[in-house]
């Protein structure tokens, strides 16, 4: 089995996001970039499936500018067999990303595509579902457990009501939730090994997918802040205050 994994580069989750004073965007210059945490989980899951003998090949896919190569090398160092770099200087919205993945699927014929449930920059939570629709295949989103057997994936999904289990015939799209696994750390020798692994480079334009902005972002603002309230001295004062507000 061949597995395609989406591997997006985003502003590191530890960075405190700052909105530019003129509302034109968030500050990204000189800010640390890392793999989207949900994508690291996606890659880890694919690697575990390969280690279990369920899959033979794991391919990481990145869509972005020419300097994305270094990021894809991290995916290779983590253990992917090879990488595909779809090159574009433009920001790519979910529908475009899904169309790009569909083109790659037609070429690579994977049985499984694993993506993060969302990227922590735009928080859209769309690409996997859109891809499954365009591909006309099952989707198992927000996965916290994945079992592959007999041509199907049995996936436990984290839903608001609890844990839902569904069966999806392969090929299928799975999107990862936080508790699916804990991604491995990259070891130094693996970084050396990754240097000789292949990265295919494809211009986005050559796929016949146009990267146009379906949604226009016209303004960025900092969120409204909550202000610090009052400190109460004991339980009785707290209960009195909440009762006064009609909350208890």
């Amino acid at each position: 089995m061949k597995i395609l994994v989406g591997y997006k580069r985003v502003v590191d989750y530890n960075v405190r996001i700052q909105v530019k004073p003129d509302g034109s965007g968030v500050v990204t210059d000189g800010v640390k970039l890392s793999a989207n945490p949900f994508d690291d989980i996606a890659l880890e899951e694919a690697l575990r499936l390969r280690e279990k003998g369920v899959a033979e090949e794991v391919i990481v896919v990145g869509i972005g500018p020419t300097d994305l190569t270094a990021h894809l090398r991290n995916g290779l160092a983590m253990g992917a067999n090879r990488a595909i770099h779809v090159v574009t200087g433009d920001a790519v919205q979910p529908l475009t990303a899904a169309r790009v993945f569909l083109k790659l699927i037609e070429k690579e014929q994977p049985e499984l595509v694993i993506l993060g449930k969302q990227a922590i920059d735009d928080d859209a939570n769309q690409t996997g579902q859109m891809l499954a629709a365009l591909w006309d295949r099952p989707q198992a989103t927000f996965a916290s457990k994945v079992e592959i057997a007999d041509g199907k994936a049995t996936v436990t999904r984290e839903v608001d009501a609890g844990l839902e289990v569904i069966e999806a015939e392969l090929p299928a799209v799975i999107t990862t939730d936080l508790r699916l696994n804990e991604p491995r750390f990259i070891k130094l020798p693996d970084i050396m090994k990754a240097k000789s692994k292949p990265i295919d480079t494809i211009e986005l334009g050559s796929l016949g997918v146009e990267a146009h902005d379906h949604l226009k972002t016209t303004h960025y603002a900092a969120p409204a802040k909550r202000s610090k309230g009052v400190m109460v001295k004991d339980a009785a004062e707290l209960v009195a205050a909440l009762k006064q507000k009609g909350l208890l």
Partner: protein, 314 residues
């Protein structure tokens, strides 16, 4: 004029309050006609509830055995067909809506606006990015159907009215896939209010110390009729299951009263409670960041304070 189709979310034959919240967002689109679409195996009880939501013109139903469970692959083709003639499709931004709405958008070949916090115009919306650390204004193409998920925490549930909107059965000619099958739903305890929609929530954090100690949180929540939540630290430590997690990677909630007990207030947790009405923090560390955003703070040992609270209540 805008015509908005709101997709009903339901479980066990009952409408989820996220639906009435999505209707509120639809009402915010000026002059819109609002229909609610119920897809289920047994639609009657759910449709009757939806018909009483203030602002709804019609309730449309699709009763099919295949709709017994909310499988996106099965529901999306039906919603995409039903969307013909509508300018907007609004879906609650819950795990249900997040699963199905992008599939609908892709079938329609349009973009999706995720997590709508406010409606500026019929095609301009505000939504959070970077876990709510920035709010963007986005413009959708007015020549296409707008598919949007509605962030429940940002919208009050539209009220109930005495009269009922008409209910009409739809026949939708859509081929439904069989490649995706529901197996089971393991629900958490259902005798407490639902965390996502509760008006009061009591959450425990790492400070609670153990799975056994968490009983004190459950007991206190029951005492005041609140839902129970937890910080990611408490979930990761195995004190409570993950469906109780409040925060960026868990549930984003907006109860009238939120009580954070033994929670230090990591950014990722605060993201999930920003829109709460009143936040109470109880923590033994007076320097904990949770106090920076709490309306009422109380420094002390939670195991001493909770019994005192119970006593003060009786």
């Amino acid at each position: 004029m805008s015509k908005i189709l709101v997709i009903a979310e339901h479980l066990d034959g009952k409408l989820n309050s996220s639906t009435a919240r999505a209707v509120s967002a639809a009402v915010a689109v000026k002059g819109a006609a609002i229909d609610v679409l119920v897809l289920a195996d047994n639609v009657d009880a759910i449709a009757a509830e939806a018909a009483k939501i203030d602002g709804v013109s019609r309730v449309l139903t699709v009763a099919r055995a295949e709709n017994a469970h909310p499988l996106a692959a099965v529901l999306a083709p039906q919603i995409a067909k039903a969307a013909a003639g509508y300018s907007h499709v609004f879906v609650p931004s819950t795990t249900f809506g997040k699963d199905v709405a992008p599939r609908v958008a892709a079938l329609l070949g349009v973009a999706q606006v995720s997590d709508v916090m406010s409606v500026e115009t019929a095609h301009t919306f505000k939504r959070p990015i970077y876990a709510g650390n920035a709010i963007i204004t986005v413009e959708a193409d007015a020549s296409h159907t707008v598919v949007a998920t509605i962030r429940s925490a940002s919208w009050p549930a539209a009220g109930a009215i005495a009269s009922s909107a008409p209910v009409e059965a739809l026949t939708i000619d859509a081929a439904l896939p069989t490649h995706t099958r529901f197996v089971e739903l393991k629900q958490g305890s259902s005798d407490r209010p639902d965390l996502q929609s509760a008006s009061k929530v009591v959450s425990g954090g790492r400070g609670v110390g153990s799975k056994e100690n968490f009983d004190i949180i459950f007991k206190f929540a029951d005492r005041i009729g609140a839902a129970v939540g937890a910080s990611r630290a408490a979930v990761d430590a195995g004190y409570v299951p993950s469906d109780l997690q409040v925060g960026q990677t868990g549930k984003i909630i907006a109860p009238e009263l939120y009580m954070a007990i033994g929670i230090s207030g990591a950014i990722q947790h605060l993201t999930g409670i920003k829109d709460a009405g009143t936040i109470v923090a109880i923590n033994k560390d007076g320097e904990a960041p949770i106090f920076e955003i709490a309306d009422f703070g109380l420094v002390g040992d939670l195991f001493k304070i909770i019994p005192e609270l119970e006593q003060a209540l009786s």
